[in-house]
């Protein structure tokens, strides 16, 4: 104990000694470092709080009764604690059914998209073929063109679906694919799903950085093109594929645009959440019998609860796979 104290003391005196020798530079430097640390802490804490605050706010609001919202005394802790919001929101969103639907669709879509994007990304990264630049420019185009631009005609495209007039020749009419899941799977299989251009780009950048010698060694040892890809390249690409998969899953989970366009008839958490305010109105209408507009506070309660309910699964996923999201992307040092 005393030894440690003495050591501390010596260190202290050492510090002043060294400070004197460096003509005050050491002290200045230490103070500066400390100040930088404090400023950094305040800044990061502030921004982190700002990002987290809405979530905390939603959590507290979701447990409140309506009257708590109008009470200026109540800020975070509800006075009338209730779980009624959760029951109502679950009922309005058809929660148990839509969460299963969402899970199945997001998972299958994400797997499909990432499989196809990996193939395409690998093709762009490791092979030389004519018109490669042109096709890659097309990938960039896909990233750049907002899906809204073509949404009008995609609407019609799937309403009167036909591949090169084959169906019309065979059956005499086109197929109406609107309202079924098929179009979206077809689009995902063709790399035209949500942000697929971005995934292709990221996967390509990753494969480009793998040294050529590895591939050549595999060829010399008798691996074919496919075997090289499956045995050598894929295991290497695990981190980037995980993060792309997680992105695909999560973005599909919360996506409103494609879901509304193609999956309108299937109840998904994202679409039912965007409708929740209207569902509340019609629910109240059925309950009372006359047309009623739900109060602002009530709607706010339900919307926050609903948002929380669809965010929680993703949040849990994020907590477990946080490394997959952030670290693998930032530490692999993708060269753009």
């Amino acid at each position: 104990m005393t030894k440690a104290l003495a050591k501390q003391k010596r260190k202290n005196s050492d510090f002043w000694e060294r400070n004197r020798k460096s003509e005050g530079y050491l002290l200045k430097k230490t103070i500066m470092n400390f100040l930088v640390k404090v400023c950094r802490f305040i800044l990061l804490f502030g921004v982190c709080f700002m990002i987290l605050q809405p979530i905390f706010n939603k959590i507290s609001v979701s447990f409140m009764e309506e009257q708590d919202l109008y009470n200026p005394m109540v800020i975070a802790i509800p006075e009338h604690f209730t779980t009624e919001n959760y029951q109502l929101a679950a009922q309005l969103m058809n929660y148990s059914e839509s969460i299963v639907n969402s899970l199945v669709i997001s998972l299958t879509i994400a797997i499909l998209q990432i499989t196809v994007c990996t193939l395409v990304g690998y093709g762009f990264a490791r092979f030389e073929f004519p018109l490669k630049k042109f096709w890659f420019a097309c990938v960039i185009m896909v990233v750049l063109i907002p899906p809204q631009t073509i949404s009008t005609s995609l609407h019609l495209h799937f309403r009167f679906f036909d591949i090169l007039g084959i169906f019309k020749a065979v059956t005499g009419s086109t197929i109406n694919l609107r309202g079924s899941v098929l179009p979206y799977y077809l689009m995902s299989a063709g790399c035209m799903g949500l942000k697929n251009g971005l995934y292709i780009y990221m996967i390509r950048q990753f494969f480009r950085n793998i040294p050529k010698e590895l591939e050549e060694a595999a060829y010399v040892d008798g691996c074919g093109t496919l075997k090289t890809f499956l045995r050598i390249m894929l295991p290497d690409a695990k981190p980037i594929l995980t993060s792309c998969f997680l992105f695909a899953f999560v973005w599909q989970w919360t996506d409103g645009f494609y879901s509304k366009l193609f999956l309108g008839n299937i109840s998904l958490v994202s679409t039912s959440l965007s409708r929740i305010a209207d569902s509340l109105a019609s629910y109240l209408q059925r309950l009372v019998g006359t047309t009623v507009t739900p109060t602002v506070g009530r709607v706010n309660c339900i919307v926050s609860t609903g948002t929380l309910m669809i965010v929680v699964p993703v949040l849990i996923l994020y907590l477990f796979a946080q490394k997959g999201f952030v670290e693998s992307l930032s530490s692999s040092g993708i060269k753009m």
Partner: protein
């Protein structure tokens, strides 16, 4: 000799074929789901589309839809100008914000992984429909007014703005700054991906470069501008394009909102296509010109 050359050509050919097989899904998808709808929507923007039972037939109408968008429709030009100007200001703010956050998050300190996780959280939580709900203005605005009246709360920026205004400091310039500060939440939640891209760029800069500069007597501030900035300037280009594109795909975008309403509720495909095309062309031209300007300043190390 000749034989060997042939063999090489054969290998190259085989590789080319393999390459095409690998990217085949993209080519098919691109041709079927992108090219056709793309040109169809361009064509429809010059037409009046009539939807019948089981068929639709576009009737050529020339520039009528475009004329309607710019001269007759009361909202479109206003929304367009608003969205574009918001896009420019916000994108710039996002770039600056994410660059400095990436600089901070690249330093070593306790709990760095935790802070990174929080900064990245909005990419997941504020995507898709959730973003649209958060900015469901009419609802929240009412509530906010009610709350502010009852508590008499004053936001800090409003107070500072008042002080500066009465002091007579140049107001115009400050208003933009205050707007950005008021929007800091929006900016913070939409800069997750950009932070990651900057971080991955910062990680590729070798530490020996900073050491050398440090020994030569370079301060941290100088090395920021002389080393960090040029080394990740290519990331600025990528991030800028990503930010602008991301901004015009957001679900709380009013122009897109308007287009969707016209398409699904009024079922006016022609007019909707025309508006989309106007918006799309403006954004693409903007991205093209600005990235040309940025790419002039990009420095490539190797």
């Amino acid at each position: 000799m000749k034989k060997q050359k042939n063999k090489l050509a054969g290998l190259q050919k085989r590789k080319a074929i393999a390459g095409y097989i690998f990217i085949a899904p993209f080519i098919i998808g691109f041709l079927v789901f992108m090219v056709k709808p793309f040109f169809q929507s361009l064509y429809m923007s010059f037409c009046n589309v009539e939807i019948g039972a089981g068929t639709f037939n576009p009737v050529w109408a020339g520039l009528e839809n475009y004329k309607r968008a710019f001269t007759i429709d009361p909202e479109f030009t206003r929304l367009l100008v608003e969205e574009i100007s918001r896009m420019v200001v916000d994108s710039l703010a996002i770039m600056v914000f994410s660059f400095f956050v990436a600089l901070i998050l690249n330093q070593k300190f306790k709990g760095r992984a935790f802070v990174r996780a929080i900064f990245f959280l909005p990419v997941i939580l504020s995507s898709g429909v959730i973003l649209g709900l958060e900015t469901d203005n009419s609802l929240m605005a009412q509530l906010q007014v009610a709350i502010e009246e009852s508590t008499g709360g004053v936001s800090i920026t409003a107070a500072v703005e008042d002080i500066l205004r009465t002091a007579g400091v140049g107001v115009r310039a400050f208003e933009t700054v205050f707007e950005i500060i008021d929007n800091i939440y929006d900016i913070a939640i939409s800069s997750g991906i950009q932070i990651i891209i900057f971080l991955s760029g910062l990680q590729t800069i070798s530490a020996s470069m900073y050491e050398a500069a440090d020994i030569e007597g370079c301060t941290k501030w100088e090395s920021l501008w002389k080393i960090t900035f040029p080394m990740i300037s290519s990331m600025f280009l990528v991030n800028w394009i990503y930010t602008v594109i991301d901004f015009c795909m957001r679900s709380d975008n009013e122009v897109i909102d308007k287009i969707t309403t016209v398409m699904t509720e009024q079922i006016n495909y022609g007019f909707a296509s025309a508006m989309t095309w106007v918006y799309f062309v403006i954004v693409i031209v903007f991205v093209g010109i600005s990235s040309l300007i940025i790419s002039k300043g990009v420095y490539y190390y190797d």
